[in-house]
Symmetry: C2
């Protein structure tokens, strides 16, 4: 009795009988391949009794497709498949990670710009730079007011200031730098709003529990929401404290109690920060799983429980 | 016989006779102090024979001004004087140093931004990022063309690209980053033009000989044009190669042949780079002195001599 065997690969689904190709349905595109069950059922219906090839039969079939004429087809279809998989691997957490990385970078860049701006502007307004600590306010005011106004406000005269009266061309250059610094801060704020928006859709529980910055940093440190969801809460607690952790392991220094979550208000305001961090990490771990498996939105309740627990 | 003594300090100019204050002209402001000779001459004319106090007389006069009632006046006037000196110490080379430092920083910042932009945009246009090496062109094109156009140009379809079709909101965020990167490059270019402008006025010889970037870097490394003018040419040759120099001193590694001036075309194109660097540093040293002492503009001729010498 000749057994019929059904075999499917990326090229199509095939029926072999007696080590001969008897029938085939070739896949037109990747979509067909992803719907392969449909085509397999078709052939199964047509031939009634078809089996999965085993041992020698399987060996024969595999050797059959090793033929050179299939090589190019396999190569092309596999390439397409891989590309498709790469494309589909782009998830919202990639966007979250890019955004939080960018926010962290913009922070650094804004610092470099403001430091240069202060140093440069101190040539003509040294007392002004010293009088305003807030970076963004400094950028705003130096653009808005001219030297005369600023000197007057600081109760300084041309005689008593240490700053030199620069020409308009020189000052324009400084103001252009101020504008760049201001736009860096603006972009940072814009990205924060965007970050919150995508997190609201993608991981609402984490967002509600940690806020966008800490939440995104945790996802970034884990590499993806999926990985964050698989971490035990003790790992979540220490994400962002890798340096201190390895120092602890290597030199026996004090073990860190918290990573990124130490920036969380619940931890900052707690008396026992270690305990608060542990409780928070517990809930974050839970929230990550809820978000990854598209569970309900429970973070509000979790937050209340947490606040109660930490107060005790 | 009673000798009259003339004594001047920041408060005024005074005539003492017989260890008694006989006459005085108080300075109204710092300008009077800086013009003190005028007032001294007035009193000298009035009293004919006045002498510079010495030994005991000087001791007495100094003790006289040690009195508490002068303290506040001295303090205030000295403060004003110091402020004035600080103000006058702001020279064009301070502007040059701020500008070149800023240009160097903007270079770094633009690199950070473009790296993030490429990584982020590769989520939806991976092949595009790989196809364009030039940073500024990449920034320009990603802003100008939409995904459809770019895919078409690269002969890709939605099926064959590895990039994911992102929503408009997501893409907008990436384009905002591209805009920021573009404006960083623009600001850098603006500062380069400004740098050339102030150097043309302040150190035309250095500018002609080295170009604005290398020239400004040399002034920055020296700390001021004045210091650069006092350096021997062997030091000028190695400015910017401090790391390699100290490594040479410490470990006996090869001594560096050139610092910033290795970026100069004359050195880059020379067969014997060490010799070219030495000849160039010689001329730069000369140019710095010419510029500092406001000498003639000789750099064109120097450059010609140099080109001749290096060719030989």
């Amino acid at each position: 009795m000749n057994m019929k065997h059904l075999f499917t690969n990326i090229l199509g689904t095939f029926v072999f009988e007696n080590n001969q190709l008897k029938d085939q349905i070739l896949f037109k595109d990747l979509k067909d391949y992803l719907d392969k069950e449909k085509f397999e059922q078709k052939l199964t219906k047509k031939y009634k009794k078809v089996f999965e090839p085993k041992d020698k039969d399987l060996e024969f079939i595999l050797a059959f497709f090793k033929d050179k004429k299939y090589f190019k087809q396999f190569y092309q279809k596999n390439l397409l498949l891989t590309k498709q998989q790469i494309k589909q691997s782009v998830q919202d957490d990639n966007l979250i990670i890019q955004t939080i990385s960018s926010i962290k970078e913009l922070d650094r860049l804004a610092n470099v710009l403001i430091k240069r701006l202060r140093e440069w502007s101190e040539l003509y307004l040294p007392e002004f730079s010293k009088s305003i600590q807030d970076q963004e306010k400094f950028i705003e005011l130096i653009q808005k007011k001219n030297r005369k106004q600023i000197l007057k406000e600081l109760k300084l005269t041309e005689e008593t200031t240490m700053g030199k009266a620069l020409t308009k061309t020189d000052i324009d250059e400084i103001l252009a730098l101020a504008k760049q610094a201001a736009s860096t801060y603006q972009l940072r704020r814009k990205q924060e709003i965007y970050l919150e928006k995508i997190m609201k859709k993608f991981c609402p529980n984490i967002l509600e529990l940690c806020g966008s910055t800490i939440g995104a940093k945790l996802i970034e440190a884990a590499g993806s929401l999926k990985r964050l969801a698989t971490f035990p809460s003790s790992t979540v607690q220490l994400l962002g404290a890798e340096k201190a952790l390895f120092r602890h392991i290597k030199t026996g220094a004090k073990s860190p109690k918290h990573g990124y979550i130490k920036e969380h208000l619940l931890v900052q305001n707690a008396k026992e920060k270690g305990k608060a961090a542990r409780a928070l990490a517990d809930k974050i771990s839970l929230a990550a799983r809820l978000d990854f498996f598209k569970g309900e939105f429970k973070a509000k309740q979790m937050r209340k429980e947490l606040e109660k627990k930490i107060k005790q």
